[in-house]
């Protein structure tokens, strides 16, 4: 099988992870933050699948499948919280959620 080498896949997955991390750190809308978290997890997933293909064992692929399920439930809880906050008509801006000062 010919195709891009493992380094390319790893590069893209690191790029995805970095993009997601920057999104979590810089963006303020909680929905975008949740989206960025998903991108981070998908970066990890891509790396797992690429390595599984490279190594020829299935562990990484099964890992990635499980991660997808976890990511879905995580974003489900996250969106639930966003809806609950929105219902209370709080500002949808993580910087304005400052009743607790950290």
């Amino acid at each position: 099988m010919q195709g891009p080498g493992i380094a390319w896949y790893l590069g893209i997955s690191a790029f995805l992870f970095g993009t997601g991390a920057l999104g979590v750190l810089l963006r303020r809308n909680p929905i975008i933050v949740l989206l960025s978290l998903e991108i981070m997890l998908n970066g990890g997933n891509l790396a797992l699948i690429a390595f599984a293909r490279h190594a020829g064992n299935g562990a990484g692929q099964i890992f990635a499948l499980a991660v997808m399920a976890v990511a879905a439930s995580e974003v489900c809880v996250g969106l639930g919280l966003v809806v609950a906050i929105n219902r209370r008509r709080l500002a949808l801006d993580v910087d304005k959620l400052s009743e607790l000062r950290g």
Binding site: L37, L41, A47, G78, I85, R88, G102
Partner: protein, 488 residues
């Protein structure tokens, strides 16, 4: 035909008992009439965590020869079992404190609490990267919801969302690190990783080292060690105090026990790297936790920073990476979890009395109004500070002697200095409780609520924290047996 592995059901019985109780408690939300719902949920949750204690003690007795079960994905050994005992005991205490404190959605609260405890008991036994990630998310997601369960309070929702964002960030780092380690070694089992590294001489491999660093960062987020602690004060303050008590004790126990296991089992060849990394994290936690605690006036925030500084102490034991360090870690976790739980439970009692956040200011006279809780708080604070009134003293002594034994005198000095600084704010709490008489402005008439169950939980925490000083010999023997399950 699909080949299914042999399942040793007894090895995961603690997890199953907690999970089963969680399902029953949740069913109670629809099947049990509203009037009985609280009693039902509390009873099921208490029985479930009691059952968990029984099975994990049994497992401890019956697992002298540690080995892996269920397709080599779960450790059945004494390290797992002893941690599970601590976790289940903390859960039981949380159930008692939560019993008359949870305001609504009782069934859901206790179901989530038990589900989270089940996740933690699974987490500490995990034997490969996938089980570790899955069980980490299992208990974390339950905790996110628990933090936000008082959803009519702004602080609670905010705490839930903050914990979710920061916690998921940590989990994502852990996942990416796991992927890199898998890429470097082609294995996900802890023991196999170490074996591959040994066979192929990978110990300086860039992928492996990067992966290890990201896994450590992910776990440090969970154990709230500096510089991964920024969420801790906010979340501890905003979450319902019952949940805070659970998080500050159980989550840390699980995270530290697993961190030591994965480092010893999967990365023994990289010990020269992670011992220094952990020592650095320990010093950062001690400095940041103690200095920030000095200026806090909100008691929950103060205790949150105190928990960060204790993460530093525990990491001193961890960073040595020796068998002595492992024993010190296991011993430290027992009085620490009791004191952390007990102190937050007392804050919960005061909070209910006042109906507003507890500060050092409005803690005045508490020791005279509620003598038992006052004395207990006094013991917990002195125990936290490392005075010989509880197991905290031996714990600190033990981790510092592990560092000394490792040849790290400088770390011992940092630890002692941190203890001296911490005396100031711990004594500040005791002073606030006793040095001023009952404040007329606070006394609103009538005697304080009875709260029998809360008193039982605080009493149990007191017995454990003082008892770990009295029964130090047997406890160290337990810790030694547990640590001998790990490869050294």
């Amino acid at each position: 035909m699909i080949h299914t592995p042999h399942v040793d059901w007894f090895a995961i019985s603690t997890v199953l008992v907690l999970l089963g109780a969680s399902f029953i408690a949740l069913l109670g939300a629809v099947l049990v009439p509203a009037a009985l719902r609280r009693t039902f949920a509390v009873t099921v949750a208490a029985l479930g965590s009691l059952g968990g204690i029984v099975t994990s003690v049994w497992l401890y007795v019956d697992s002298a020869n540690g080995h892996r079960v269920i397709a080599d994905s779960f450790y059945r050994d004494r390290w797992t079992a002893l941690t599970q005992v601590i976790l289940c005991a903390t859960t039981l205490a949380t159930v008692l404190v939560g019993a008359d404190r949870v305001r609504e959605h009782e069934s859901e609260f206790f179901a989530l609490l038990l589900a989270s405890a089940a996740g933690m008991t699974f987490f500490v036994g995990s034997a490969n990267l996938m089980v570790m990630f899955l069980s980490l998310e299992w208990f974390s997601i339950a905790l996110y919801v628990l933090c936000a369960i008082d959803y009519d309070l702004e602080g609670s929702l905010e705490a839930g969302l903050k914990y979710l964002v920061v916690g998921s960030f940590g989990s994502a780092a852990l996942l990416f690190g796991s992927a890199l380690v898998y890429g470097a070694t082609n294995r996900i089992g802890f023991a196999e990783i170490a074996q591959q590294v040994g066979v192929h001489g990978l110990s300086g491999d860039l992928l492996l080292v990067l992966g290890l660093a990201m896994i450590l960062a992910g776990l440090a987020f969970k154990s709230s060690a500096a510089p991964f602690h920024m969420w801790t004060p906010d979340v501890y303050q905003g979450a319902p105090t019952t949940v805070t008590a659970f998080m500050s004790s159980a989550t840390k126990v699980a995270a530290f026990a697993l961190t030591f296991r994965i480092l010893r089992t999967a990365f023994p060849q990289e010990a020269h790297l992670w011992t220094w990394a952990l020592a650095g994290i320990a010093v950062a936690s001690l400095v940041i936790g103690n200095l920030a605690a000095l200026v806090q006036t909100d008691v929950k925030r103060l205790l949150a920073y105190s928990s960060i500084s204790h993460a530093g102490f525990i990491l001193i034991g961890l960073s040595t990476g020796t068998a002595l360090g492992g024993r010190a870690l296991m011993y430290y976790l027992v009085p620490y979890s009791a004191m952390a739980f007990g102190s937050f439970a007392i804050v919960a009692a005061r909070e209910r009395e006042l109906g507003k956040p507890v500060t050092l200011e409005n803690l005045a006279g508490f020791g005279w109004e509620r003598p038992f809780l006052g004395v207990a708080m006094w013991f917990f604070m002195f125990g936290f500070a490392g005075l010989p009134l509880g197991g905290g003293f031996i714990g600190k002594f033990y981790v510092l002697s592990a560092a000394y034994d490792h040849g790290w005198t400088w770390l011992v000095i940092v630890g002692v200095l941190a203890t001296l600084v911490s005396l100031y704010y711990y004594l500040g709490v005791v002073r606030a409780i006793y040095m001023r008489g009952p404040q007329l402005a606070v006394a609103t008439g009538g005697s304080p609520p009875r709260e029998t169950l809360l008193h039982i939980a605080v009493g149990a925490a007191l017995v454990v924290s003082v008892g770990s000083l009295v029964a130090v010999g047997p406890l160290i023997t337990l810790a030694r047996h547990a640590a001998s399950a790990l490869p050294f």
